[in-house]
């Protein structure tokens, strides 16, 4: 049952071969067995999950089951979920039981999916290793001495360890794709504006985007069908006709032009990752695709640009945490200003404070033009590189991350080393393009390697098609960590 696709699970549920209550209980049992070691979940709430499962069973008995009805899905703890503790990985929200649902959560609830638990994450999604979570690090199920990636590391570990049928993540600079790569699963960040940000705790609003994480491209397509959609409560949500993201899965890849950016295969890329990615490109050629060399000359600037824009937006977004209306308040303080300063100093972790300070500095008087405005201009140059590249190819491929999963503590005290692990993913967020990662082999340390697939705007169906055809021809996505 734990290896079944979402489609197989849905068919089994609707054919009454298993009830949603039984399936949910199976996953809850597995979580209680493995979560103490993996720490993939911050919160499980069996009462709520099983109540949803009973409703799903009743709905299916009435013949009203949909694709995801009754299926246990884990939710990143960044999504506000009514009645659930929603911490965003932070002490600041250690007691925040959300009074409302994020739009993404509503979509899953309307579909009759089961919320099987809230997954661990880097604090406020700021991190690439899950080491910044206030609730302890998540362990990579392939080797518990290695990081799962981040920020959606709990989700990636939960999917890899089969603690949920599928799950959600969010991606501001690579937070879906990088942990998907490091944990050997599939994950997709849609075009900016496809999924509503309403109720998704904000990090950098012009970059944040929710997306599905699961075991196959076919599963991701079903999840995205549920997650995507216009929502008037998010001012950047796009008004578009509803798409069926499964529609092109079975198309052959004959004639697909794959662009390979030379900058993604240059210095800094580990040999083992390069080999696995090149082997995957070879497989695509066998499937009928052709390869085009392209260049994204400004992509090397994406890390510095990102570390101006994202902290600037974060420092503004996180100013709401003041110890007044919700969340953590310091127990002792002298006056109002002291209450703000102590509550924020004690409630936020080191990395979050660091980014708030970067953002505050670059937005402060006299520095705006040199940093924020300059970063926004280079952002356009980075986006234009992609526009130019798509004149010569249909889809872009390369590595998701420069190396496989590293050891805890390996990046040391220097935040810049950690920031560089997102070097291939950040440009996609800056341009607002869709990007995904699928497993394509293993590195020297027997940890998974991810292949990144970048699409043009609104080309999710084409990306899912390319990923699905690869997964029909290979079995990397079916490999599961042993010995758990």
């Amino acid at each position: 049952m734990f290896e079944s696709s979402l489609k197989q699970l849905g068919d089994a549920l609707r054919a009454k071969k298993i009830s949603s209550v039984e399936l949910t209980q199976l996953y809850l049992d597995k979580i209680s067995k493995l979560n103490p070691e993996l720490n993939a979940f911050i919160t499980v709430n069996p009462d709520i999950s099983l109540a949803q499962a009973r409703d799903a069973d009743a709905r299916m008995a009435a013949g009203k089951g949909e694709a995801l009805t009754g299926i246990p899905i884990a939710q990143k703890d960044i999504f506000c979920s009514k009645g659930w503790l929603t911490t965003c990985g932070s002490k600041m929200l250690h007691n925040f039981v959300s009074p409302y649902d994020a739009h993404v959560i509503q979509q899953f609830n309307n579909a009759g999916a089961i919320n099987i638990g809230k997954t661990n994450m880097d604090e406020f999604a700021m991190g690439s290793s899950n080491e910044t979570s206030h609730y302890g690090t998540v362990k990579n199920p392939w080797n518990t001495e290695n990081v799962p990636g981040g920020s959606s590391g709990g989700t990636a570990a939960a999917v890899a360890a089969r603690l949920c049928a599928a799950a959600t993540g969010t991606d501001t600079g690579g937070s879906i794709r990088q942990p998907a790569a490091l944990c050997g699963i599939s994950g997709l960040k849609p075009t900016y504006g496809v999924c509503s940000r309403f109720g998704m705790i904000a990090f950098a609003s012009s970059l944040d985007q929710a997306g599905p994480m699961g075991r196959s491209a076919e599963d991701l397509a079903l999840l995205l069908n549920t997650m995507a959609g216009f929502d008037e409560r998010d001012s950047t949500s796009l008004q578009r006709d509803k798409e069926d993201y499964t529609r092109d899965l079975d198309k052959p890849l004959n004639g697909l032009r794959i662009g390979l950016p030379k900058e993604f295969f240059a210095e800094g890329l580990s040999n083992d990752v390069a080999q696995a990615v090149e082997a995957a490109i070879g497989e695509y050629k066998k499937l009928g695709a052709t390869v085009v060399d392209i260049s994204l000359p400004n992509s090397k600037l994406s890390v510095p640009v990102y570390y101006v824009l994202a902290p600037a937006e974060a420092s503004s977004n996180l100013s709401r945490f003041d110890g007044v209306r919700y969340g953590y308040r310091a127990s002792e303080y002298d006056d109002l200003a002291d209450m703000y300063e102590k509550s924020r100093a004690q409630g936020f972790g080191e990395e979050v404070k660091r980014r708030i300070m970067i953002g505050t500095y670059v937005l402060s008087h006299g520095y705006y033009d040199a940093y924020y405005l300059q970063a926004q201009k280079i952002r356009r140059l980075i986006a234009q590189d992609f526009t130019e590249a798509y004149k010569h190819c249909d889809i872009i491929m390369g590595p998701t991350a420069p190396s496989t999963a590293f050891k805890f503590g390996e990046k040391g005290d220097d935040p810049v080393q950690m920031y560089l692990s997102d070097i291939y993913t950040i440009a996609v967020n800056l341009a607002g393009l869709p990007g995904m990662s699928i497993p394509c082999g293993f590195g020297d340390n027997d940890m998974p390697v991810g292949l990144q697939i970048i699409g043009n705007y609104f080309d999710e169906a084409r990306m899912l098609n390319a990923a699905h055809q690869y997964q029909l021809a290979t079995d990397w996505h079916n490999r599961a960590p042993q010995g758990l």
Partner: protein, 95 residues
Amino acid sequence: MSLTTTDVQKVARLARLSMNDQEIESARKQLSGIFDLIEQMQAVDTSGIEPMSHAQDVSQRLREDTVTENNQREAFQVIAPQVENGLYLVPKVIE
């Protein structure tokens, strides 16, 4: 780029983050390293380039000026650190 202790103290105050001397010094070192990375941007000629704030070229939607939210004060105040008679309590600001 090297930040001074005064720079970091000023930023901490603007960001409403209480920090002791040791934390200020640690932040100063790390922020200086990050700004070394950021400084790479200054070499780029961006004259004539429009700043890009959003990926899609869409304009702000407008809505009718009507009340669309229900009053949920009690639900929202259950999770507040300190409330009284439907009001949020903070330390006294005006004597």
